[in-house]
């Protein structure tokens, strides 16, 4: 079943068609990769799907509902959460605060509870805070970031910063996670760990879509691959089908020896 679907989706910047009449679907529970040369419109596609940019034409459906033109926070509320290509974090927050911010939707604390609840009154403010901290600890453990809770995120090694970005998105309790180049700038060891994480995320019942340049990762992990070039879909299929596709080789992969 398609959890995310785009119909004739287009995004133009002036005369440039970054995404052009794209029909694409993501099936529930799979790991789908979107690949293509630089400027193929992959990140634009993410921005349009998650509401950061309005599409020029076309529709986006998530779980059967039309989410075209909704604001990013509304889309996140429905369970479609993204990570960012650049390493974007909260510069003045320690690690734990990032995850707690990610748990924003999870926390139902109201303003009145915040203002009125003192320890000897009723306990809901403190209980909710304890629950949030518990969840944050679980997520950090899953990411292998346990022990660096109180470090400033900017002091973490680059690979860990990327993982923390994933952690923020995970805390937002996604049904579908869009990851924009998750292993960029990671060394082999970190990239392997990131791949095992992505499988772990899928096992938790979260569908994963990633944009990635690292062919080793893509071929290794994806159930299916969508190839974009100049904003158009030129191929779609399993990793082995994509490897054998002449058009993809011409546009992006080059000679086949490079891939293997």
């Amino acid at each position: 079943m398609a959890i995310l679907e785009t119909r004739q989706l287009s995004k133009h910047f002036g005369g440039l068609a970054a995404v052009s009449e794209l029909d694409m679907e993501v099936r529930e529970g799979e790991i789908l990769s979107v690949i293509g040369p630089n400027g193929a419109g992959k990140t634009t596609l993410f921005n349009v799907v998650t509401g950061y940019m309005p599409p020029t034409a076309g529709k986006v459906f998530f779980g059967g509902e039309d989410i075209t033109g909704l604001s990013p926070n509304r889309i996140a509320e429905r369970g479609l959460v993204r990570t960012f290509q650049e390493t974007v974090l909260f510069a003045r927050f320690p690690v734990i605060a990032h995850i707690l911010t990610g748990l924003f939707m999870d926390s139902t604390t109201t303003l009145w509870e915040t203002l009125l609840n003192t320890p000897w009154w009723f306990q809901s403010f403190r209980r909710k805070r304890a629950e949030s901290l518990q969840k944050a600890a679980e997520i950090l453990e899953f990411l292998g970031l346990k022990g660096s809770e109180l470090m400033l995120a900017t002091n973490l090694p680059h690979g860990h910063q990327r993982l923390l970005g994933v952690g923020i998105a995970l805390a937002a309790n996604p049904k579908l996670l869009l990851m924009d180049e998750p292993v960029t700038g990671m060394n082999v060891e970190e990239a392997n760990f990131a791949m095992s994480l992505m499988r772990g995320i899928r096992e938790r019942g979260i569908t994963v879509v990633l944009v990635e340049h690292d062919m080793r990762t893509v071929m290794d992990i994806s159930d299916r691959i969508v190839v974009l070039n100049y904003g158009r879909k030129i191929a779609e299929g399993t990793p082995s089908e994509i490897r054998a596709n002449q058009e993809v080789i011409d546009a992006y992969l080059g000679v086949e020896e490079d891939v293997a």
Partner: protein, 337 residues
């Protein structure tokens, strides 16, 4: 006991006691007047910092104080409401203005927002100036009644005024403290640091910005109402852009890293300093400017960060001492160098 516990269980009660006992320690109407001013401007500066915590820099906060002040003055003189109803009503009116104007203005970022708040404050002031029949115009709004006696306390000396404004300040400090340590403070700060990332986890940016702005305006309105009935006279000249600028100076000089203590310390310092130097009003503006520049340049974390800053200086000097050529302090006193 750890230092933190010591500060919590000994430092805070001592500080609270100091605030409560202040008018008895400085038992002179003029000093008490200064204490009252410190508390009033602290409320404004706290509001400025609350708005800054969602990443928006306002220089029109005195405009909302003016709304509260004139609303309260009108309610008591024209409608005939008691001060004790007029005060919360004035705060609510300022908060409503804050919510509506916030809804309009908070869409703008940084510089544009700053200009919008400036314009709004000027519009408020000019409305007062050019509506003499209702608001008194340039000549001022006279004969605002003193608050009625409450709990057997008549408002005939500075004492009840001081405790009233101290109470308002305490309420605001409590509200900010609770918000700062909950989901709300975290959300505010996340919006200030990285709006798209905050949005990606479901934060409705405008809703939280408007919340912070409205809370700040509510207390600015309450402070305005107090101010009106304390002075019993209002003039548009009390709420010029200079007032808003000085309010942001209080917060920045105190230290914007200190959500609560910073604005209060800054207000106390800048209200007392011209008095210590026996400065005239004109001179105190120059003094404020000089202090502002010095603090920004040498202690960018604000006065309350002085202990850390001294550590930075000492380190810099120690490093410098090993290098031949001597110490050139102006190169090394700046942090980060």
């Amino acid at each position: 006991m750890s230092r933190r516990e010591l500060a919590k269980w000994v430092g805070l009660p001592l500080l609270a006691l100091l605030f409560l006992a202040a008018p008895f320690i400085f038992n002179d109407p003029y000093y008490q007047h200064l204490l009252i001013l410190i508390c009033t401007w602290s409320i404004l500066a706290l509001g400025f910092l609350l708005i800054l915590s969602v990443g928006q820099f306002t220089i029109g906060h005195a405009g909302f104080m003016a709304i509260g002040a004139y609303a309260s003055a009108l309610l008591t003189t024209k409608v005939g409401v008691s001060f004790w109803f007029a005060l919360p009503l004035a705060a609510v009116i300022a908060a409503i203005f804050g919510a509506v104007m916030g809804w309009v203005m908070l869409r703008a970022r940084m510089g544009a927002f700053l200009l919008l708040t400036l314009c709004f404050a000027e519009v408020v002031r000019l409305t007062i100036v050019y509506w003499p029949s209702l608001l008194g115009g340039r000549a001022g709004f006279p004969n605002i009644p003193r608050p009625d006696a409450i709990f057997g306390m008549a408002f005939d000396s500075k004492f009840p005024y001081y405790y009233l404004i101290l109470f308002l300040l305490a309420v605001m400090v409590f509200v900010i403290y609770r918000m700062d340590r909950s989901k709300f403070g975290l959300t505010f700060k996340s919006i200030a640091q990285n709006p798209p990332l905050a949005q990606s986890v479901g934060v409705h940016l405008m809703r939280y910005k408007i919340l912070a702005f409205t809370v700040a305006c509510f207390f600015a309105g309450a402070a305005g109402s107090f101010y009106a009935h304390y002075l019993t006279f209002l003039s548009p000249e009390y709420f010029t852009v200079w007032k808003s600028l000085i309010v942001q100076m209080y917060a920045i000089i105190g230290g914007i890293g200190f959500m609560i203590a910073g604005p209060i310390a800054g207000a106390a310092f800048l209200v007392v300093l011209p008095e210590l130097l026996r400065a005239t009003e004109t001179f105190s503006f120059i003094l404020y400017g000089a202090v502002f520049i010095l603090v920004i340049f040498f202690i960018p974390g604000g006065l309350l960060s002085l202990p850390q800053q001294v550590g930075v200086w000492r380190q810099a000097l120690r490093r410098r001492a090993k290098i031949p050529g001597g110490i050139r302090p102006w190169q090394y006193l700046r942090p980060g160098s």
